[in-house]
Structure formats: structure tokens, C-alpha cells
């Protein structure tokens, strides 16, 4: 009992002392200190924080805040988006069947070589339009540049150099190249080019506005490459590092012509309908069979695995 009493008395004494030393208060006026100072102010109970907050009406608080004039965080702020590539390949090139199988010296081979790009009118118009915007465009140099872009892009993919890859490959092609590859190791090497690359097709398209021109050029290249993909644990998933494969590819390279800083970047590949089937992956994959009703049996001998239709598609 004596302790709390002393505490109250001490508090009063301190209060009066403070009053005396306060420079703001004039020396003549002396207000008496408070007689009843609360002493037992220590919190001795615990209330969990969730109890105090009852469900507030959410719309109610928003309206109140707006009425009071408090400005909340701005939602739906407009953000400009830069579209620097098209969504797909416009008017894709249909490669003739048996493109790589005929040699240049036979009659049919000569016929094929004769159907050069000069015959297709739309490609010529497109090339003329590209030369309007970029005067240094030449079909022969461009094909070699395209191959260089291809090689550099795939090297950047093996190192997974994001910035370099974005500058060499359009935004449409980037997720196709990198999907699922983040936690895998890819080893790719370009051994040699079997035929000089050729420009085969060209198109110019407008996106959104009339003058916003994008140029797409298809380049045909025949080369030898090795590819080996290892999964997260270092086990081989696909291909082999020593065995090279001959590859005939049709690359689509795109550039935003109107933009002075636009660059020719890899936009996609065209896979013809007559392309040979790729090598299977090393592991076995389960394909789900038909759904059986109770009582039916699964006929393993007559069941055929559905194969995809042989259609040209572009990656």
C-alpha cells in the first residue's frame, strides 16, 4: 500500500517541479498540478488483435473516405505498350515438296531453282517496300546476315543471356524458344552450312494503324547442327552431343520498318508438312487410352495411337 502512495506523491512532486522549470510559463502564474494522476496504468490483459475488428462494410468505408476528401491509390493508370513485333507469320511460305532431296544438277532441281523469288510478284513488291525504308537492303547479304542472327540467337539460348536473346529474337518467338528451358541445360553447336542460305519469300504487313509497316522475310537454310538437352539433374533428355544432324529450315526474320531503331530479328520457323519426323525423347511417355465404361475391356491389339495430321505449321 505504501508503494503506490509514494508513487502518486512522487508524480505530483515531479509535476510541480516541471511546472517551475518550464520557461514558457510565466513565473507569476502557478497552476496547481492535477490531484488525481492515474497510477495503475500498466496493461495487464491480452486481447488478440482479431477481436476488436468487426466486419466493416467495405463499400461504406470507401464512400466515407471519398466524402472526406482522402485520395486513395490510383488504379487503372494508363500505361503505354510498345508493340515491336507482329503476332504471327502473315501469308506463310509453302515450301515445295522434296525441296532438299533433289540436287541442283538434275532437271527437276534446275526447274526448282528457276522458280526463284523473281517470279512471285508479292515478294518483289514487299522487297521494294523494304528498300524504301532501308536503302541498304540486299537479298544476297541479307541471307548471310540471317544465318548469323540464327547462330548467335541459339548461342545466347545456351548461355541463357536474356538481354542478348531479346535483341536477336522477337517477343513472339522468345517464349516459344525458352518455354520449359529455364531449369534445363542446352548444348547446341552449329557445325557447318551445307548450302548457302537463300531468301525465299518476303511480305510487308500493317499492324493497327495504316502506316505501321512490318517486314517479314523467309530464308531457307540447310545446315549441320548438334543438339543435346539435359534436364535439371544432368541426365540426357534429347539428342546427343557427338552425332550431327542435317537440318533444312525456313526461318522468318522480321523488322519494324518504320522504327529507325528497328532490327532484323528471328520471328519464327516454318515446318513444312512433308518434314521428316523428329527423333523421339529418351524417356517413355504414357499416352492415355480411351475412357472405358464399366464392363468394357481394352482391346490392346486393335487400338491405334492417334497420330497428328501432316499439316504445315509455323513455330
Amino acid at each position: 500500500m505504501a508503494m503506490p502512495m509514494r508513487r502518486t506523491l512522487v508524480a505530483l512532486h515531479r509535476a510541480t517541479c516541471r511546472r517551475l522549470t518550464n520557461a514558457e510559463v510565466s513565473l507569476d502564474v502557478r497552476h496547481p498540478g492535477p490531484l488525481f494522476l492515474p497510477v495503475r496504468t500498466k496493461k495487464r490483459y491480452f486481447i488478440p488483435p482479431a477481436v476488436g475488428m468487426k466486419t466493416k462494410m467495405e463499400g461504406f468505408t470507401e464512400a466515407k473516405a471519398r466524402a472526406a476528401g482522402i485520395v486513395g491509390k490510383q488504379e487503372n493508370i494508363e500505361r503505354p505498350i510498345n508493340i515491336s513485333c507482329t503476332a504471327g507469320v502473315f501469308d506463310p511460305y509453302v515450301p515445295p515438296e522434296g525441296d532438299a532431296r533433289l540436287s541442283t544438277l538434275s532437271k527437276e532441281g534446275l526447274k526448282q531453282r528457276a522458280e526463284q523469288i523473281r517470279q512471285s510478284a508479292t515478294s518483289q513488291l514487299a522487297i521494294r517496300k523494304i528498300k524504301e525504308h532501308d536503302s541498304l537492303f540486299k537479298t544476297r547479304d541479307f541471307a548471310e546476315r540471317a544465318q548469323e542472327i540464327f547462330v548467335e540467337a541459339h548461342n545466347a539460348l545456351t548461355q541463357f543471356n536474356k538481354e542478348k536473346l531479346h535483341s536477336l529474337v522477337t517477343e513472339r518467338c522468345y517464349p516459344e524458344m525458352t518455354r520449359g528451358n529455364r531449369y534445363k541445360t542446352i548444348r547446341w553447336s552449329f557445325i557447318e552450312s551445307l548450302e548457302p542460305p537463300r531468301v525465299v519469300h518476303a511480305r510487308c504487313t500493317d499492324m493497327v494503324a495504316k502506316g505501321n509497316v512490318y517486314g517479314q522475310v523467309t530464308v531457307r537454310m540447310h545446315s549441320r547442327q548438334t543438339l543435346a538437352i539435359y534436364d535439371r539433374f544432368g541426365r540426357l533428355m534429347l539428342g546427343s552431343e557427338e552425332q550431327p544432324k542435317d537440318v533444312l529450315e525456313y526461318l522468318v526474320i522480321e523488322r519494324h520498318l518504320v522504327n529507325p531503331y528497328g532490327r532484323w530479328r528471328l520471328h519464327g520457323k516454318i515446318v513444312p508438312s512433308w518434314a521428316p519426323a523428329k527423333d523421339p525423347i529418351i524417356k517413355t511417355v504414357m499416352i492415355l487410352g480411351p475412357k472405358l465404361r464399366p464392363g468394357e475391356e481394352f482391346d490392346a491389339l486393335n487400338h491405334e495411337v492417334p497420330k497428328p495430321a501432316a499439316v504445315q505449321w509455323y513455330k
Partner: protein, 167 residues
């Protein structure tokens, strides 16, 4: 701490490609479920029950267990099996076994429990996390030591003692 997601980060580790003469590294899949409305002590019994079993056996045991946590644990195991086949290049979905499985405390909600005479208690609304590590391959066989073996070992230890500074 209760908010750390270290278990999920273990799935992001990439090993360098193996040389052809090295033994094949078994795939490891880490999976977890957070904030399950169940007690961590009750979950622990189930977690230790399936530790060391193959995944098919574990799923079978949990399917016919009457506890609430068993149903949730079975869902987690099936999710982990699917992820293993889809994302982590596991060939056969039955070729997995449960290497590690344990439960941990989640973040609790606190409420007041009213007693008589104005007294109160703080009631914890209990949550738990559940962690599973699946490894590719058949489960390791633990050699069971019989009591006779242990006794023989004890006698052997006694016999192999050397007495120093003796004649």
C-alpha cells in the same frame, strides 16, 4: 520463420550435365502444402507413417486411413507425382518413393476463449504445413537388426577390449 519458402526453392537447383560414365542421378521432387487447417502433431503421425514407403503404397495407406489429414496428404502426394512426371523428367510415375515427409507449424489465428469468473484464455486456431520429398527409384531396404545380432555385437565389443599396461 513461418513465411520462408525454402522448400519450394529446392526445386530450382540445376545440376551440371553428367558425364556418360557417372551413375545416373536420381530425380528429387520437393512439394509442400501450406496452411492446412489441422494440427501439426496430428499430422506428424501420418507423415512418419508414410516415410520410407513407395508412393503407390503410401497413397494406398492414406486412402483407407480415417483421419482428416490423410485425405489432404493423399492430394499432396498425387500433385507431387504429377509434377514429377510433367516438370522434372521422371519416366515412370510408380518408380518414386517418399524419402522425407514431415509437418511443420503454420501461422496461427488467435481468439479469446471465455472462462468463468471473468477469466479468459487465448485460443489458437491451429494451422500446419506439410512437406514431402519424392526420390526416383525403389525405396531403400532397411536391414532389420534382430536382438540376437545386437547381443552378439555387444559381446564382440566386450571381447575386443584391450587392457593397457598389463603383463
Amino acid at each position: 520463420s513461418l513465411e520462408s519458402k525454402a522448400w519450394e526453392k529446392k526445386n530450382l537447383k540445376v545440376y551440371p550435365p553428367q558425364l556418360p560414365d557417372e551413375p545416373r542421378r536420381p530425380a528429387e521432387i520437393h512439394h509442400s502444402r501450406r496452411q492446412i487447417k489441422y494440427s501439426k502433431d496430428k499430422m506428424w503421425y501420418l507423415a512418419k507413417m508414410i516415410q520410407g514407403l513407395s508412393i503407390d503404397e503410401a497413397i494406398a495407406q492414406l486412402e483407407f486411413n480415417d483421419k482428416k489429414g490423410a485425405k489432404i496428404m493423399k492430394e499432396v502426394l498425387l500433385e507431387a507425382q504429377e509434377k514429377a512426371v510433367k516438370n522434372h523428367n521422371v519416366e515412370y510415375k510408380s518408380n518414386l518413393y517418399v524419402a522425407e515427409s514431415y509437418s511443420g507449424k503454420g501461422r496461427y489465428l488467435k481468439r479469446i476463449r471465455y472462462h468463468g469468473r471473468g477469466m479468459f484464455g487465448i485460443m489458437d486456431k491451429v494451422y500446419c504445413h506439410y512437406f514431402v520429398k519424392l526420390v526416383e527409384g525403389s525405396p531403400p531396404k532397411t536391414v532389420e537388426k534382430t536382438s540376437f545380432d545386437q547381443a552378439k555385437q555387444y559381446v564382440q565389443n566386450l571381447k575386443s577390449r584391450t587392457i593397457i599396461h598389463s603383463l
